[in-house]
């Protein structure tokens, strides 16, 4: 019993150190968002907090941070959902459904190849395609690009998690009269919920922070996302630190809430559905 208490303290101590290490720079970003530029330049630790930077990014008819945040949330969620569905189905098919080595090997190699390419390779083709499809400067254009960029991550992660599911589970379900789709949905998916949730969160995150395509495939507030708005603060020869900090800090909050909510929701079924082998 004593050893257990000791271990718990050690464990939580370690985790608290982690929390502090992660949060110190975040707190610094928050502090910077409350500083005047002159206070940032002087590096002082004591300063008079003011909310000018937040006013700058929100007030007035010309401000577009709300729209950028909305676009980012839409783009990242839709990308995560599409990658989640297409990626899991595809990953399940190639890990479990008896394709020849050539098919599943070929697809995996192609995915890795796509993943290893510098993304800039896709920029000009996608620009021209989205213009001729008429989806340029909409969230759809950005979603399209993000789905491609994140598909390798989605499929490769899910092949790993599907491989952990014992084969006997599906076989038993199918003997009980399920067809393959039902076996997948009712037996396999519940068992990989943690993996599915992690994949969804990561795809969301990558889409949320992607800059190059968000910039190249949009031109107005109808399509632009947060990273483009943030990058505008890095100017030709100057950086608007305060507003950048305010923008980054603010944009993080809705995303964090959404991610936590979605993650909980996906994982919740875990204990109910899983019949652990």
């Amino acid at each position: 019993m004593k050893r257990k208490t000791y271990q718990t303290i050690l464990l939580n101590g370690m985790l608290l150190i982690m929390v502090i290490m992660i949060l110190t720079p975040v707190a610094y970003i928050f502090a910077t968002s409350l500083k005047r530029t002159a206070d940032i330049y002087s590096g002082t630790l004591l300063f008079e907090p003011q909310i000018n930077n937040y006013q700058e990014i929100f007030t007035g008819s010309r401000s577009n941070f709300i729209e950028l945040t909305r676009n980012s949330l839409v783009v990242a969620s839709v990308t995560a959902i599409i990658c989640g569905i297409i990626g899991s189905l595809g990953a399940y098919s190639i890990t479990r459904l008896k394709w020849s080595r050539w098919v599943n090997g070929g697809i995996l190699i192609w995915l890795l190849f796509v993943n290893m390419m510098p993304p800039i390779v896709f920029v000009t083709p996608y620009y021209l395609w989205t213009r001729s499809l008429g989806i340029y400067d909409t969230p759809f254009a950005v979603v399209m690009a993000h789905v491609v960029l994140n598909m390798p991550l989605a499929v490769i992660m899910m092949t790993n998690f599907f491989a952990e599911v014992p084969k006997e589970m599906e076989e038993a379900a199918m003997i009980d009269g399920c067809n393959q789709f039902q076996a997948f949905m009712l037996v396999v998916v519940p068992m990989v919920r943690p993996g599915l949730a992690a994949m969804g969160v990561l795809v969301f995150v990558f889409s949320w922070k992607e800059f190059l395509f968000a910039l190249s495939l949009t031109t107005t507030r109808a399509g632009r996302t947060i990273p483009v708005g943030i990058a505008n603060f890095v100017q030709e020869f100057n950086i608007r630190y305060g507003e950048m900090a305010a923008g980054s800090f603010f944009a993080m909050i809705p995303a964090l809430i959404l991610v936590l909510f979605a993650q909980r929701h996906i994982i919740k079924g875990l204990t109910v559905g899983a019949v652990k082998g």
Partner: protein
């Protein structure tokens, strides 16, 4: 209603609009000429302009507002981060039809776009258009001589300057006065001043290290050893680092950059130099001229009213060679004529003298000598517009070749290495010389 896309400071924008209207109130004649001018502007369909967010953007946006107000012509701005300008312009000019009626092109991208055939000659859009002689030439930045493959006075007019940024020398006028120092004209004087003023709390001088190229260009030019130069007599291209002056320029840069600088001299970007100057920790600096309005902003600067500026020093007073880092506005060739005309109409309006004065008061950097001269006695902006006006005869832009970006890679890499003693100054000069020669020979230039 105009719409803006990127992020820029609303406060700065309002200030800029106020400055324009304030300027109008203070100068009734200007107001009249606006109204007269507005009548000259034809009614045009709405246009979209690609522009980057920058410290001078609020001034540009204020003028756009004024243009719409006085002429009724609508302007949409795609405000894009600086880093994305090149790719966005390139994409737009490659599509079936460009999304932009006018694109802002920064000086270092001029050779690519002028040489590519992706832009329309201005005279194809308006056959009667002539560049006003008061618009500063910046080494014929508006024209491209396709026979020579460089900017040249006889070249085709492909763009109109809209931002006249150059390098300036900034100093703390209060400290200089206190110590009886007159602003320097040479590097020797700069070094003496750095030595005299440096204290543990005040750095004598600092140079930009990220990257070492643009400001250093003024050094090599002043030493008569430009990165590349066409010898008019022989018709051959020459490499400056193959001359003894090349090494002298490097050593001068290293001395001025390291000796009186903060310890992190190897990692200083333009933003750091602005921060050091704004917070009163730097006595003098050779830096981007467009930063001047920053020092007058009490939000960020503790040296408001203490700043002075003049022509960036050189080896001698006569060989001072500040570089330009300006912008032109051009019109993609994949546009119907009406759209190009609508775009050009705005550029013409923006570059008239009165509008250039208003543009300056709103916080932007004009391109006309008469605007600079008129404002050089202004209480607010006179300290730097005067220095711009004074610099014009000395401006020595870089030789803009399609290969310049590759040459830049060699110079900025080798100089960065020399700056932290990864290699010696001699090695750096040797390597830059041979690398630049190879780049030029590969591209087929005739070399001396």
């Amino acid at each position: 209603m105009n719409k803006y896309v990127g992020r820029f400071s609303r406060r700065d924008f309002l200030k800029a609009v106020a400055a324009v209207s304030g300027g109008l109130a203070a100068r009734p004649w200007l107001d009249i000429s606006y109204k007269a001018l507005a009548q000259d502007v034809a009614s045009m369909p709405p246009i979209t302009v690609l522009i980057n967010d920058s410290p001078w953007f609020p001034g540009f946006a204020a003028m756009v507002e004024l243009y719409t107000e006085t002429t009724g012509n609508e302007v949409n701005l795609d405000v894009t981060p600086f880093a994305g300008m090149l790719d966005k312009t390139r994409n737009a000019t490659q599509a079936n039809e460009s999304e932009y009626d006018a694109v802002a092109i920064t000086e270092q991208n001029i050779p690519f776009f002028y040489n590519s055939g992706l832009l329309s000659p201005i005279t194809d859009i308006d056959s009667g258009y002539e560049l006003d002689s008061n618009i500063i030439s910046y080494g014929d930045a508006a024209r491209w001589d396709s026979d020579l493959g460089i900017n040249g006075p006889d070249g085709t007019l492909l763009g109109v300057p809209i931002n006249g940024n150059i390098q300036l020398y900034y100093y703390r006028a209060d400290l200089f006065e206190e110590n009886g120092i007159t602003p320097p004209q040479t590097y020797d004087e700069m070094e003496a001043i750095a030595e005299q003023l440096a204290t543990p709390r005040l750095f004598g001088n600092a140079n930009r290290a990220n990257p070492i190229w643009w400001e250093f260009g003024a050094y090599v030019d002043s030493y008569g050893a430009p990165y590349v130069g066409l010898n008019a007599e022989t018709g051959n291209w020459e490499v400056g680092f193959e001359k003894p002056e090349g090494l002298e320029a490097v050593n001068r840069w290293l001395t001025l950059g390291r000796t009186w600088a903060p310890q992190n001299y190897a990692d200083l970007g333009q933003g750091d130099l602005i921060a050091l100057m704004s917070s009163g920790r730097l006595a003098q600096v050779h830096m981007v001229g467009a930063a001047a309005p920053n020092f007058d902003n009490p939000e960020s600067s503790t040296v408001v009213g203490m700043m002075g500026a003049t022509v960036a020093p050189g080896l001698t007073a006569e060989t001072r060679s500040p570089r330009s880092g300006m912008w032109v506005m051009s019109h993609p060739s994949n546009l119907p004529l009406e759209r190009q005309q609508a775009g050009l109409e705005f550029v013409k309006w923006l570059t008239t003298k009165d509008n250039q004065v208003a543009y300056t008061l709103a916080g932007a950097i004009p391109v006309r000598q008469d605007a600079y001269e008129e404002l050089s006695t202004d209480d607010a902006v006179g300290w730097w517009t005067g220095a711009f006006a004074e610099s014009t005869p000395f401006i020595k832009p870089e030789t803009r070749l399609p290969e310049t970006p590759i040459i830049r890679d060699s110079v900025s890499t080798r100089m960065a290495q020399a700056y932290v003693d990864e290699i010696s100054a001699e090695e750096a000069v040797e390597l830059m010389g041979s690398e630049i020669r190879a780049i030029m020979e590969d591209a087929g230039y005739s070399m001396g």
